[in-house]
């Protein structure tokens, strides 16, 4: 009986092998792509059982195939199954991706022979499954124009293509078939959003950037770089480039990877990317790039929370929320505001400029609804920002280093005039009495009166008193930062921790969660369906990375894939200390945001180099953003000149910024030139639910709209080509093309429940239906304010952080309450003077109290996130954005970055509007065009961060930059010494008229 049973799989295996030959022949006859693919190789491929007891070999010759039963003595390559059961299960229809991955992970299916052949055969097998599924895509709208779709950081788009060239890129206007929009009923009116996916302004610049004169169209080698001779590292950033072939470029890079690994070990390879990539769950850096890098091993560059600093290092200790990096919960706030908000305070909050990062202009219409309802607005920001200009209201303009002084004075008014929620403070918070004593000066003898704060902030005491009283008398929303619940320029300063935690305190005193007492600026939490599953990009795509992405939570099960692990993950370099790691050979980091599962994770430190690990000898850099985005960024320029780093490769779309410092440059293509799939504004992870800043959830198939320009390639393909040279192509690709992975992602999501693959390929997008009434989010913290357990539990805090497990009682803080005096900080260091367990007024270390420095550099520079470019992604590139009047100014044929300054400051320096000026301090100098304005107080100047153009007029790293990288001026010093953080908005400078070098 047993013997007979064993025979059945063997017989089926025999039949399957025979069937395979027939299948290949039939499909090759039917489909030209299979016919052409089969012509690529003449070879003999053996399929067999591991014990050689059974097999069949296939001979491919000029596109023809024949096969023979048995074991060939010298096949070119072999596919080997552990036993017949495994073979049958994987060769017959009906098996799942999980079956296949499971067999691969447990070595029940292996391969032998050159990867070139095994990969080819694996892809052929994949083609048999997918053939016919990829033929028709996009909509033919006549006149030779195809309408495709794509996903961008600016929003989802239609891409019109004619003759292989992009004609136009537009927002997606929804049709009648697309799901209905939501409607909110409030104050006797109905509010429903326009049927269009708006774009951030820079979204309209994409075509111009695709066809940019700065596009890298073929691989480049620095002219004086010779991998087998003189490397001339000192000339990085100075020497020019020559065109080389892909083969040469890939051979050099793969060769250097092998050499470095052999000589120093994988930890000698440093790798980093920008904070954001061109969109797509496969092309994203947390997907293709991570998968490849894990396979070769590397030292990881760990990003700090550079847009969230004060919330992460400060607020988190007082209200929890580690898994959102200290952000407040804004759930349900759009509906709540429309119903109840009487006044909205935008505090360091300019959503009309920052667009919620990925939010298009979706929040704008909602804010205008509030304006039409007569809601009062207050804007607290040193700059009369664009939200203030659009909405109007009261502008309160503190000097940039005001920290928590204004908040302290507001608390003083509330305490002394009995205007706060005493019951809430008593039952929902801890440590208030200590705070009260501090505010009233019982601790340090200083009463934190509005008059006291006036000296620190320059805001008239009377205005603060009026604000405090108005706030107490109205249902007031506090919109902090661009999201309304986190971010904001004030959190990226030496005083950022104190500012952010004072926001928590003020909301606690108002009764956070009570009706009309909420966080939010209408930017996030529209009533969309939060349960529809489509993975965010931090969910790891096909990275296989279970440790450093969110893959393990959903996608590892839903889209089975081979896991990848970087064995050298212990060695990390904080992104803001990459120069120190290279130039000084050591550095120390705090707070691994990849591990933000508890509050305490933040106290972890990591040192470079780790004992026994190699130092950095090679740098695999993606893109060129850091000179524009990181503090004191001339450091990065200098680091590139170090001979310690023997090899620098940069994979980039454009020749800009740091790309010009590489030895080899690999030209990547844009998201319009490759296949991918993504949901608009869906990062997942600590940005979970961020799609709710859109009025409609939109998932797009990212059609390959045009062929890659020049010789550029998709990131997927570049890594694939390198992997081929490192015998990693099979592991890297699992035999799949980009489009195969797109299909697998589609299958893993909830999309197939609503739309067929065929229709999705054609139409290219899907609008997720809004939830029924009664299924929308309740207002955040309502449960908390009303003394219930959390009935709106979302991912995080984790079960362990609840005292009663999954009954969800309280916040993540040790007490479960809002803590004025943070238990976690008391445990960490109760005597910390930089960050005491309770927020205190701590003057900025680069601000108006530093009088020596102030005499030399009397102007305080703020560098908010730029309005017309998403970090460096849309700036420069010889593109149309340069002509936006408030972005760059054309003077004598050159597009200069803008610095904005008050009339009085300009006049005192003889500077007129449109003059070229030199802005400088000890750290560097930048040549800018002056914009003279009343939108800033005397003594404060404003210039956006994130210039993509670094263009030193002399020696790179030590001469004035006319490209506009104002971050060459900002301090590298962290907010507090025990943090890896940026205080970019604490920067003193001088400005003078530029009269030429």
């Amino acid at each position: 009986m047993q013997a007979k049973d064993k025979k059945i799989p063997k017989m089926t295996f025999f039949a399957a092998l025979l069937g395979l030959e027939k299948m290949l022949k039939i499909q090759a006859r039917r489909h030209i792509e299979i016919r052409e693919f089969m012509k690529q190789k003449n070879c003999c491929i053996q399929i067999k059982l591991k014990d050689n007891s059974q097999g069949r070999y296939f001979i491919f010759n000029n596109g023809n195939v024949c096969s023979k039963n048995g074991i060939h003595p010298h096949p070119d390559a072999a596919l080997i199954f552990y036993d017949a059961e495994t073979a049958v299960a994987l060769m017959m229809p009906g098996h799942t991706q999980l079956d296949q991955i499971h067999a691969m992970k447990n070595f029940k299916i292996t391969q032998e022979g050159p990867e070139e052949l095994t990969m080819w055969f694996a892809r052929l097998g994949q083609m048999l499954i997918t053939v016919g599924q990829y033929q028709h895509y996009g909509v033919d709208i006549g006149n030779g124009v195809m309408k495709y779709t794509n996903g961008t950081v600016a929003g989802p788009v239609f891409v019109y293509v004619k003759n292989g060239k992009i004609l136009r890129i537009t927002p997606i206007e929804f049709d009648n078939i697309d799901a209905d929009s939501w409607t909110i009923k409030a104050r006797g009116k109905e509010f429903t959003p326009p049927r269009i996916s708006t774009l951030s302004p820079h979204g309209y610049n994409f075509k111009s950037q695709v066809y940019s004169p700065d596009r890298l169209l073929y691989p480049l080698k620095r002219v004086d770089f010779n991998p087998t001779g003189e490397r001339n590292c000192q000339n990085r950033g100075v020497s020019g480039y020559e065109r080389i072939s892909w083969d040469e470029a890939l051979d050099i890079v793969a060769g250097e990877i092998k050499r470095i690994k052999r000589e120093y070990g994988p930890s000698a390879i440093l790798q980093s990317t920008g904070s954001h990539h061109t969109l797509g769950n496969l092309g994203y850096f947390m997907s293709a790039q991570r998968r490849f890098m894990n396979l070769i091993g590397h030292t990881f560059v760990l990003q700090n929370v550079d847009s969230w600093e004060g919330w992460y290092w400060g607020a988190m200790h007082h209200w929890g929320g580690s898994m959102s990096l200290g952000a407040g919960d804004p759930s349900g706030c759009v509906e709540e505001a429309l119903k109840h908000c009487e006044m909205m305070i935008f505090w360091s909050s300019d959503p009309e400029s920052t667009n919620g990062a990925y939010g298009g202009m979706e929040g704008t219409i909602r804010r205008l609804w509030l304006k039409d309802l007569g809601v009062k607005f207050v804007h607290i920001d040193p700059y009369y920002n664009h939200t203030a200009a659009l909405l109007g209201g009261k502008w309160i303009a503190p000097r940039p280093d005001y920290g928590n002084a204004l908040s302290l004075a507001i608390a003083y008014v509330w305490i002394t005039e009995d205007l706060y929620d005493k019951e809430y403070v008593k039952t929902r918070t801890t440590g208030f009495d200590e705070w009260k004593d501090y505010v009233l000066g019982r601790e340090d003898g200083i009463l934190k009166t509005p008059e006291w704060q006036e000296k620190e902030t320059n805001v008239p005491a009377k205005d603060v008193r009026a604000l405090a009283r108005e706030w107490a008398s109205k249902k007031t929303f506090l919109g902090v930062g661009g999201m309304g619940c986190t971010l904001g320029g004030a959190c990226r300063a030496a005083t950022g921790i104190e500012w952010a935690r004072s926001m928590v305190y003020l909301m606690a005193m108002r009764g956070l969660g009570k009706e009309g007492v909420s966080l939010g600026n209408m930017q996030v939490t529209t009533p969309v369906d939060f349960t529809f599953f489509f993975p965010g990009y931090t969910e790891g795509g096909f990275s296989g990375d279970l440790a450093q992405t969110g893959l393990a939570i959903n996608m590892y099960q839903k889209m089975p894939q081979l896991p990848t692990i970087n064995p050298y993950y212990r060695q990390m370099v904080p992104r803001i200390n990459v120069p120190e790691a290279i130039l000084e050979g050591k550095c120390k980091g705090y707070g691994n945001i990849m591990d933000a599962k508890s509050i305490e994770h933040q106290f972890q430190t990591y040192e470079y180099p780790q004992q026994g690990y190699s130092k950095i000898k090679m740098y695999y850099r993606y893109g060129g953003s850091f000179i524009g985005t990181m503090p004191e960024s001339n450091r990065y320029v200098k680091a590139y000149k170090s001979e310690e780093v023997e090899f620098v490769v940069n994979q980039s779309i454009w020749l800009e910024g740091e790309a010009k410092f590489a030895d080899i440059i690999l030209p990547a293509c844009t998201n319009f030139e490759r296949w991918d799939i993504s949901e608009a504004s869906n990062p997942g992870g600590y940005g979970a639910g961020l799609f709710s800043q859109l009025n409609h959830r939109v998932v797009t198939l990212q059609h390959k709209c045009i062929e890659p320009l020049g010789e550029s390639k998709s990131d997927y393909d570049i890594f694939f080509e390198l992997a081929k040279r490192l015998n990693l192509a099979g592991y890297y690709s699992e035999g799949c093309t980009e489009l195969d992975w797109v299909k697998r992602t589609f299958d893993a999501s909830d999309l197939p429940r609503y739309i067929s693959w065929k229709d999705f390929m054609k139409k290219g997008y899907f609008v997720v239906p809004a939830p029924k009434e009664g299924l929308t989010q309740k207002p955040a913290y309502r449960w908390f304010a009303e003394g219930r357990n959390n009935d709106e539990y979302k991912m995080g805090p984790l079960a362990a952080d609840f005292k009663d497990g999954m009954a969800y009682e309280g916040l993540q803080t040790p007490s479960g309450k809002i803590e004025f005096v943070a238990t976690t900080l008391k445990r960490y260091d109760p005597d910390d003077r930089e960050r005491p367990p309770m927020s205190k007024y701590i003057p900025s270390w680069e601000g108006h109290h530093v009088t020596d420095l102030l005499r030399k550099y009397p102007l305080h520079l703020i560098t908010p996130h730029a309005r017309y470019t998403f970090n460096t992604m849309n700036d420069g590139k010889g593109s149309c954005v340069n002509d936006v009047k408030d972005h760059r100014v054309l003077i004598d044929g050159y597009y200069y970055w803008i610095v904005r300054m008050n009339n009085k400051d300009a006049m005192a320096r003889g500077i007129a509007n449109g003059d070229l000026v030199k802005m400088f301090n000890d750290r560097g100098a930048v040549i800018c065009a002056a914009q003279v304005t009343e939108r800033l107080p005397h003594g404060t100047v404003h210039s956006y961060s994130s210039s993509a153009v670094y263009d030193p007029i002399g020696e790179p790293g030590s001469s004035p930059d006319r490209g506009g990288c104002v971050n060459t001026l900002t301090p590298k010093r962290p907010i507090i010494s025990r943090s890896s953080s940026t205080a970019a908005n604490s920067c003193l400078v001088q400005i003078e008229k530029w009269r030429g070098a």
């Binding site: 004609l167 136009r168 890129i169 537009t170 927002p171 206007e173 269009i196 708006t198 774009l199 302004p201 820079h202 309209y204 610049n205 075509k207 111009s208 066809y211 009309e352 298009g360 202009m361 704008t364 219409i365 205008l368 009369y384 664009h386 200009a389 659009l390 109007g392 009261k394 502008w395 309160i396 303009a397 008059e451 008239p460 005491a461 009377k462 205005d463 008193r465 009026a466 604000l467 009283r469 108005e470 017309y868 010889g878 593109s879 149309c880 954005v881 340069n882 002509d883 936006v884 009047k885 408030d886 972005h887 054309l890 008050n902 304005t933 009343e934 939108r935 800033l936 107080p937 005397h938």
Partner: protein
């Protein structure tokens, strides 16, 4: 005959430049004969957003004025063009023929609104065509209007009589009516850009402590007449808007009879009066 009109609400323009960049996206590198030849990537502003800051720190506001071609019914460019190089379509759109206009640089100066740009490379004058190639293809609006996230830009395809009614109802104006060119582009809340304000903050002091004065009546007089009335808000702020620039002496009377404070302003541009103590 229905004709195209554009309405621009200055109140809702925030200088996001979506219109400007969408226009570039549509027209740079794209020829749409016979409507238009491609727009140069740089310099040209077929929709030109002007900025106006009003007042002095911290009582200021900012307005933006997008200026496309006005598609005038009595267009000077048509009159100045040789060889019928500029013509008006039945639907109101003014088109510069990209072939017949070659070399006619004088057309740039003919437009009092500065809406015509010279393309040196091609030797032709160019301007906004309301994306007529798209409208003729069934689009309901131009690219700039589609891109506008605030509804500041609208396009209407209506009979002139209907438009007359909308002009009345929405109190629309044309820019610089003194040019007398009968534009088909209309503005709403144009005062935010063209007119001036007088603003101030009212406070009182008791025992050295200053407080904003809420609800205080403020009256504006001009040439002996009471012009506007307001009350201070919770920050003590008041603002009189829609005043003509360089319009002479204004008197502001703050507070009730007995304790009233009087301020005089010679209005040139918008004026923010420093703190007024009562």
């Amino acid at each position: 005959m229905r004709k195209w009109n554009m309405i621009i609400d200055v109140r809702n323009c925030e200088d996001c430049n979506s219109c400007f960049l969408a226009c570039k996206d549509e027209h740079v590198d794209n020829d749409f004969p016979p409507y238009s030849s491609s727009q140069p990537k740089h310099i040209h502003r077929w929709i030109n957003i002007m900025r106006k800051e009003r007042g002095q720190f911290p009582l200021i506001d900012v307005a933006y004025l997008p200026r496309p071609c006005m598609h005038c019914d009595d267009a000077p460019c048509i009159k100045h063009a040789a060889d019928n190089a500029v013509y008006k379509r039945d639907d109101g759109i003014v088109v510069i023929d990209p072939i017949r206009s070659k070399g006619q640089r004088n057309l740039v100066q003919s437009c009092p609104y500065g809406a015509i740009w010279w393309n040196a490379e091609k030797g032709i004058p160019q301007k906004c065509v309301f994306c007529a190639h798209l409208l003729d293809d069934g689009w309901q609006k131009s690219r700039c209007v589609q891109a506008c996230p605030t509804g500041a830009l609208r396009m209407l395809h209506v009979e002139d009589s209907e438009m007359e009614k909308i002009i009345q109802d929405e109190r629309l104006e044309v820019l610089y009516p003194e040019y007398q060119t009968k534009p088909r582009v209309y503005y709403k809340n144009l005062y935010r850009y063209m007119k001036c304000f007088i603003a101030g903050s009212v406070a009182s002091a008791h025992d050295g402590i200053e407080d904003c004065v809420n609800g205080e009546p403020v009256v504006l007089y001009h040439e002996g007449k009471k012009l506007q009335e307001a009350r201070t808000d919770c920050f003590g702020d008041f603002k009189f808007d829609d005043l003509d620039p360089d319009s002479g002496l204004y008197t502001i009377r703050i507070g009730f009879e007995k304790r009233a404070v009087v301020k005089e302003v010679n209005l040139e541009q918008s004026c923010s009066i420093e703190k007024i103590l009562i």
